[in-house]
């Protein structure tokens, strides 16, 4: 008699823990051919709010770490992902219907993207900060600081590379994130959460909700303790993006607008995804005896 395998329960990732949705709902995830793969937790409005609380709680500690330390932690995520290659490749294959070698390439690119962003932790300040030569006896310095809690609507199609390309730039500068994964392709996000949980990322820095962005996002967009939102995951739905942008105005969230369609994440990402979620702080110090 063959052995009965132990199947995994796919759960949310909030505050470093893996809870089910408080709502008790789940939804069926199919592979690219339509076969049943798993029941994923269907995140609710309450889950989103819990995730915001966790992200806010983690913000001070994460933003207060040295840039060098954040760089090492992001690099550590890449190490863990490298270690879990077969699992991640399988998740990408299932979700995106790619061949083994294509899925390997996606994973290569995802890990390399993370390493690329990890290196930015202690460099962005030098590239976008400034000493300002004011006309007076003052030392004047402008530096980027993290915006705070950022809601990230992860891309729907690119379930791993897109996800990493959206999350890494947010957290590398010291923000904490509440991420809504791809609805139809949530499994790479869940596996990514497991990598985060084992790679020195403090609980609450990244929170991952599986479920439907169109139902969760309005609560995040209107949440008064969320400082910014990336609309990437609802690209193309202009009615929804407009209403989210309107809701975001309630506390003047920084909004990273969605492109008309999901972009090609294989291209050079540039600095935009990082600079969209930093604030410039300028400090004046008098010079004198």
């Amino acid at each position: 008699m063959s052995r009965v395998d132990v199947r995994k329960t796919y759960k949310l990732f909030i505050g470093g823990a893996f809870p089910r949705s408080e709502s008790g709902y789940s939804y069926v995830v199919h592979d690219s051919k339509g076969a049943f793969v798993a029941n994923a937790a269907l995140a609710s409005r309450k889950d989103a709010r819990d995730a915001v609380v966790a992200a806010r709680k983690a913000f001070g500690g994460w933003a207060g770490k040295t840039a060098y330390n954040r760089a090492q932690i992001l690099y550590r995520i890449a190490e863990i992902m490298e270690d879990r290659r077969p699992q991640l490749v399988q998740a990408v294959r299932q979700s995106e219907g790619l061949s083994g070698s294509r899925a390997e390439k996606v994973l290569d690119e995802s890990i390399d993207r993370l390493v690329w962003y990890a290196g930015w932790a202690d460099k962005l300040t030098q590239v976008v900060g400034n000493a300002n030569p004011v006309a007076g006896p003052f030392f004047n310095l402008s530096t980027p600081e993290p915006t705070g809690v950022v809601a990230v609507l992860a891309p729907q199609e690119s379930s791993l590379l897109g996800l990493i390309s959206a999350v890494a730039p947010v957290i590398v500068t010291g923000n904490t994130a509440v991420v809504v994964s791809s609805y139809q392709r949530p499994l790479p996000a869940v596996t990514f959460a497991e990598c985060l949980a084992t790679s020195d990322v403090p609980g609450g820095v990244v929170n991952i909700l599986t479920g439907d962005a169109s139902t969760i996002a309005p609560w995040l967009a209107s949440h008064m303790d969320v400082n910014a939102i990336d609309l990437l995951g609802v690209a193309g739905d202009t009615e929804l993006t407009t209403s989210l942008e309107v809701a975001a105005a309630d506390n003047l969230k920084r909004v990273r607008r969605a492109p008309a369609a999901e972009p090609d994440f294989a291209t050079d990402p540039g600095l935009d995804a990082m600079t969209a979620f930093v604030e410039t702080k300028t400090v004046w110090h008098p010079i004198g005896v």
Partner: protein, 479 residues
Amino acid sequence: MTSNVFEYAPAPESRSIVDIKPSYGLFVDGEFVDGHGTSFKTISPATEEVLSEVAEADQADVDLAVKAARRAHTRVWSRMPGRERAKYLYRIARIIQERGRELAVLESIDNGKPIKESRDVDVPVAAAHFFYYAGWADKLEYSGYGDRSLGVAAQVIPWNFPLLMLAWKIAPALACGNTVVLKPAETTPLTALLFAEICQQADLPPGVVNIITGAGATGQALVGHADVDKVAFTGSTEVGKAIARAVAGTDKRVTLELGGKAANIVFDDAPLDQAIEGIVDGIFFNQGHVCCAGSRLLVQESVAEDVLDRLKRRMATLRLGDPLDKNTDVGAINSAEQLARIRELSDIGEAEGAGRWSAPCELPAHGFWFPPTIFTGVTQAHRIAREEVFGPVLSVLTFRTPAEAIEKANNTPYGLSAGVWTDKGSLILKMAGSLRAGVVWANTFNKFDPTSPFGGYKESGYGREGGRHGLAGYLKGGE
């Protein structure tokens, strides 16, 4: 202390240098044209004297101005080499300097601010902004944001620093190759209209700068115009939110400089004489009509009594009155409406149990005036500690530890500025790093410079004005 210890003879600046016309049109496509809305009067807030009648731009006027700006962008300004654009901006900077006295007097008449401030701050800093950004026009490729302009910028500015806010808006926009339609505040249009003349004097190509006057409806029409690529607004957080909603779903780029409720934090080891000057400058500069005003004084408990005594003593020497008098420290409140708001919030402060004290000064019989005022025993729940008064009203709170000061300072939806007073360098850096505010002044306050980025965290808005960062809001690569 009796008031006649510091009796001064009047020293009024002559207003003969300004030539205020009985009426003004809109400045569109290089010419003054009639507006089609209902024209309105601008008055001197110090005397309530009617100064002039100003045209109101309606939807059609806004459309004409945007069309003129679009044409100028496409045909002239975006094609002109940066070094040529630069020279126009240098010209403007020079004319502002040359006509500095005229601008300062006009600003004080229309706005009510003391001449010493318009003369020593508003006008020279405005000129400096044009001079600074002029130099960027042919160096944009080194800015980090590329050198591609956005197109037409819709700019709406407030009444507290009419000319200076105009400079903050127009100088970077033009340097980056954009053209602008700017609406000054309805209570302070005159220096913007004089600036239009300066554009003519500089032979700036028609349509590059368009100045349209009007109130909220004109601003809405401008911000909502479909052919505008960029919206830049300085003003209240409430209107800022309305603008953020209005541009939702469009490709318009937006920068917002909004309200504030800055904490000015005084530690027990602070150089107190300097700190008192900084507190006074922080809240009474420009009658407290300053978005980054230090309107919450957080003073360490052990020195609170001493600081308050010294502060009251200093406040008693402030001279309130004729804005054109060179000895005046505190001018007129800009409008009846703003005065009503300051009175209302102050009355609420008293009703909620805070102790009210005003400097003993005589208020002129005409015009809009409010004496420099402090509230003691203020808690974080008091409305005067939470809402922007935008007037010469200081709320005083106390703290014991740096951690408590940080928590109280950050306990606000705003995040524009903050001040820290201490002799301890490491404490300054700790505080500066912990305050969620876009500008932090250490042992100084209310300093501005064209090279220094200015702008807020949280509900104080987004984007920066000034410095290299100020270019980002006007270039395609700055997103």
